[in-house]
């Protein structure tokens, strides 16, 4: 199932230079990737039996999703077939599930923000599942050069769903993508979101994962020119029995590129499992890379599990800044004491502190309704375990 794949070189650091352990080669050929067994580094945290076949099926879609869109003037939204030549040009699938999804989708959604166009109203793309069978999707978000836009990508309903989302941020463009995983409790999703950030372009991504039974998302960033900037923010609230896995990969393959990866989560309830893998590669021969990533987890009850793994690989000596941090802990009882000592009841004090923990991140979302909605949903989940 080959696809037009021009403009993407096989992804390596060349010749006799060291090859990154993190930097997997990609392919559109499903057969190029063996079926995962769960022992592989990339799969060892994921409970494969709960994937309902997304990793080992034959790619026959037995389920379906509906895609609704809403776009302001200046943004075009199209539904296109598999043969649309704009698809699949910005990335190579980096695992079997991604390749399988690309081989199996039947319609794709293409959002294009025209060159030099600045839109302040957000574009909405809502994917809703209504059955349990496997469904596949593909979305291309393209911000043409020097354009500026915000896309809210929302997933809802019940589904067994796998998709690839391409973010193409051309030179000088600014694209904000808020991906909201607001599935019903029984949904399963594996999503690969591949960003290509152009010269002096800026990508801001918010990955908000609240719903589902199992959600595994792999956002990755490559730079197509100097001076690109990518901010990946993540927020998850993992409740009893849920598995939320975020695997970010930032490949600083161009000079003067900047990245910030900042994921904050909370876990509450028996068998809540959150996984964060943050891979950063600073490519050979690049200069002036500035990168920082961190992950924090707030553990609200017993019986939860957190796996948090930052990986940083540097192939050059000329780094401006690179660092990482990872921390997990409980609510600070001294914070609660202070609020309670001012008369605030214990449950409200907890809410305030947790709100405060997420507020800094949520407040960067520039859509007030969405900010409130996310905060309300966080509080709903919180109330379940009080």
């Amino acid at each position: 199932m080959a696809s037009p794949n021009t403009g993407v070189k096989e992804h390596s650091h060349g010749g006799d230079l060291p090859i990154s352990r993190l930097d997997t080669h990609g392919s559109f050929d499903v057969a190029a990737f063996p079926v995962p067994t769960g022992r592989e580094e990339e799969w060892r945290f994921t409970p494969l039996r709960r994937l309902r076949g997304l990793h080992d099926s034959d790619g026959a879609a037995t389920g379906a999703v509906t895609v609704e869109t809403q776009a302001p003037e200046g943004v075009s939204v199209e539904t296109v077939g598999r043969d649309d030549t704009r698809l699949g040009r910005s990335f190579l699938p980096n695992d079997r599930v991604s390749a399988l999804a690309y081989s199996a989708f039947s319609e794709a959604t293409v959002v294009t923000v025209a060159k030099d166009t600045e839109v302040s109203e957000p574009v909405h793309v809502k994917v809703t599942g209504n059955s349990e069978g496997e469904a596949y999707g593909h979305i291309l978000l393209r911000a043409e050069s020097h354009s500026s836009a915000t896309v809210v990508l929302e997933y809802a309903g019940s589904a067994t769903y796998s998709d690839n989302v391409e973010y193409v941020v051309e030179d000088g463009a600014r694209l904000t993508v808020i991906s909201l995983q607001d599935w019903e409790r029984d949904a399963v999703q594996v999503s690969h979101q591949y960003a290509k950030v152009g010269k002096d372009a800026k990508l801001t991504n918010f990955m908000i994962t609240l719903g589902g039974d199992l959600v595994r998302i792999s956002p990755s960033v490559r730079y197509a020119g100097r001076g690109g900037d990518a901010e990946l923010h993540g927020l998850y609230f993992t409740g009893a029995g849920q598995h939320h896995e975020h695997r970010s990969l930032v490949d600083h393959d161009a000079s003067n590129s900047r990245s910030r990866v900042e994921y904050k989560g909370a876990l509450s309830g028996e068998d809540a499992h959150a996984v964060w893998i943050g891979d950063v590669i600073i490519g050979e021969g690049t200069q002036g890379t500035d990168s920082y990533e961190y992950n924090r987890n707030l553990v609200l009850t017993d019986g939860t599990r957190v796996d948090s793994v930052p990986n940083l690989e540097i192939f050059t000596g000329e780094v401006e800044g690179a660092g990482h941090a990872s921390a997990s802990g409980k609510l600070d009882d001294i914070h609660l004491f202070y609020l309670q000592s001012r008369g605030i009841p214990a449950d409200e004090a907890r809410r305030l502190v947790i709100r405060g923990y997420f507020a800094e991140l949520i407040n960067r979302i520039e859509i007030p309704d969405l900010r409130e909605r996310i905060m309300d949903e966080v509080e709903e989940k919180l109330a379940l375990h009080e």
């Binding site: 004491f337 001012r342 004090a349 997420f358």
Partner: protein
């Protein structure tokens, strides 16, 4: 008329999972509303422990004794119930609570203590006035609770809360330390306003008689080795400042 009584209070500091150490070794003290009692004593003698044990700090555990507010045992109440019953502690080291804005915190607190939510507009005004009275820049209202505040700024905000919450009984733990000369005056005036308007009983912990020139104490107690070692009038503060605590530390050693 409110009566605040501490009777035979003993308390441990909880150090680790197994480890604890007795700090308060039988404290007795009675304070009537409208009165101000100063407590002075050497570093490490247990003054803050007394304040925290009364407030219900999770790192301390009361092992014996009673703390009564108008005959009601405060120690049987949860931390927030104590505050709603009319107790207040201005802490020596106020806690930073990131991400919770000062204005949101103050409104939640005032709502809880008064038992009903104040009207947004009225409360905003009340808060701004109180901030102005303590020379606090209005911009602090949108910052996180004590987040990155300087030592002196934190202390001013403790007194801001005192003014807004109007407790029956307040413990002020070294509110004067870390304040510059002007701030000491501003903060003392704040305390005096609350005293004049509400007849609050005050237990004022300090190392310096300087603040007692601004906030008049009716009684002064010397605290040493976990208990009240001597009590007297305002003149005791001056004696302590010139003589030090040597005689109390030695006694009964």
């Amino acid at each position: 008329m409110t009566k605040f009584e501490i009777r035979g209070l003993r308390a441990d500091v909880l150090i680790g999972a197994e480890d604890r150490e007795e700090i308060l070794k039988g404290v007795d003290l009675t304070i009537d509303s409208g009165e101000t009692h100063a407590i002075m004593g050497p570093n490490g003698s247990g003054k803050s422990t007394l304040a925290y044990a009364i407030a219900g700090h999770p790192r301390y555990e009361v092992t014996d004794g009673e703390v009564l507010l108008d005959g009601e045992n405060v120690l049987e109440m949860s931390v927030d119930e104590r505050a709603r019953a009319g107790m207040f502690l201005a802490m020596q080291y106020p806690v930073e609570v990131p991400g919770v804005s000062m204005s949101n915190f103050l409104r939640s607190s005032v709502t809880a203590v008064r038992g009903e939510a104040p009207k947004l507009r009225t409360f905003s005004k009340e808060m701004q006035n109180a901030m102005k009275g303590l020379s606090i820049d209005p911009a602090f209202a949108s910052r996180g609770v004590n987040e990155g505040f300087s030592g002196g700024e934190k202390k001013r905000h403790e007194i801001l809360q005192l003014e807004l919450l109007r407790p029956k009984f307040a413990i002020l733990d070294e509110t004067d330390s870390g304040l510059d000369v002007d701030a000491l005056k501003v903060v003392s005036e704040g305390i005096n306003r609350v005293k004049a308007e509400t007849n609050v009983g005050v237990l004022l912990i300090t190392h310096y008689s300087r603040i007692l020139n601004h906030v008049k104490a009716d009684h002064v107690h010397v605290f040493a080795k976990g208990r009240v070692a001597e009590s007297g009038g305002p003149e005791l503060a001056d004696a302590l400042e010139s003589e030090g605590y040597e005689r109390f530390v030695k006694a009964g050693a």
